[in-house]
Subunit: 205 residues, 2 copies
């Protein structure tokens, strides 16, 4: 599992340019880091003098961010696995017409999955930007800059993940599937910059 | 060492809101990831058909990015250590006038170091944005999006690191030191957005 790698090992694998971790895995790492930093702000607020009024809100926020960190950390490997499945499908035999048809179907199924994983990462990254913005506005002022870093990492995650969805859509032959996902990609893509700006409006970074 | 942590462990520590890793360490991680992704683009270009003309340039770029990855990975812990030193200095005895004076000097020295570490991270993060831009323009077109993610992670790193310099400067009493660093912070801060925009101008992310 990539998430069991030491920080140094993951960075070295990314640098090497081997098949995994690729852009989708790095997108998920960015989003998981963003969720973790959002939790940090909430955890540095709970129990602090002067923040009694937002105590329950911050506990709720920490819980939501922790859930997203868990989901997004899992996606670091899910994206790599989806990519590995695509590569495996391409290697299937096409000695007969039947095998060729079966191989084609496997490839298409694998690429659909490779599009769905980063789409979910993008959705969750946008949810993290919203949580980071709430943490910046209401949480411990001394930790607001960590919320800003969260928003920036989540923006990077969302754009990187949506790019990976688009790349995979270009190889999918199911037009209805492509159209549905392309539509959602467009909607999400249009939200990224605005959401980041909104989160960063309350902090000087 | 934080860099020997598994990805999951580092994220959990960040989320917990304990003293380390703090914002400066996360800034260094962002920059190290950016350097790794820049290397990835260069390594995915070297030896590829159609990119013979930039082969030497990409080898040089990979080498520079590898050096920066190494330096920036070390900074993940150096920032945490500098913060730990500040905390340790604050805990020194002030039972006598002599001890109080010695403690004050130790605190000031430690905070200066805690400002210098993220300043160096910011300088190196800006160097990574330039390398990422070069990788995007000249490198393997299929990996350009990884260069874009590198530029975004380096932008996050630079802004987060410069914020940590500013925070530490506010506690330093050596006016000449503060003025010199504040001046450099201002210069670097003004370059971040422009450099990121320049790098991203050549890729659709």
């Amino acid at each position: 599992m990539l998430v069991d790698d030491k920080i140094t090992e993951y960075l070295a694998k990314a640098a090497a340019g081997t098949a995994v971790p690729g852009g989708g895995s790095v997108a998920a790492l960015n989003a998981a880091l963003a969720a973790g930093l959002t939790e940090m702000v909430a955890n540095l607020t709970v129990g602090k003098k002067g923040y009694e009024a937002v105590e329950e809100d911050m506990k709720d926020l920490a819980g939501q961010a922790a859930q997203l960190r868990s989901t997004l950390t899992a996606a670091i490997d899910q994206d790599a696995e989806a990519y590995t499945e695509v590569m495996a499908a391409y290697k299937l035999s096409k000695a007969t017409d039947e095998e060729t048809a079966a191989r084609k179907q496997k490839i298409q199924e694998a690429i659909k999955q490779a599009a769905l994983v980063p789409l979910e990462v993008a959705r969750n990254a946008l949810a993290v930007i919203d949580l980071a913005g709430r943490a910046i506005r209401k949480g411990n002022k001394n930790a607001a800059s960590d919320g800003a870093v969260a928003a920036m990492n989540a923006r990077t995650a969302a754009l990187a993940a949506l790019y990976n969805v688009r790349i995979n859509l270009s190889s999918i032959e199911d037009d209805a599937f492509v159209e549905e996902l392309a539509q959602e990609v467009k909607v999400l893509q249009n939200q990224v910059a605005a959401k980041e700006n909104e989160a960063l409006a309350y902090v000087q970074i």
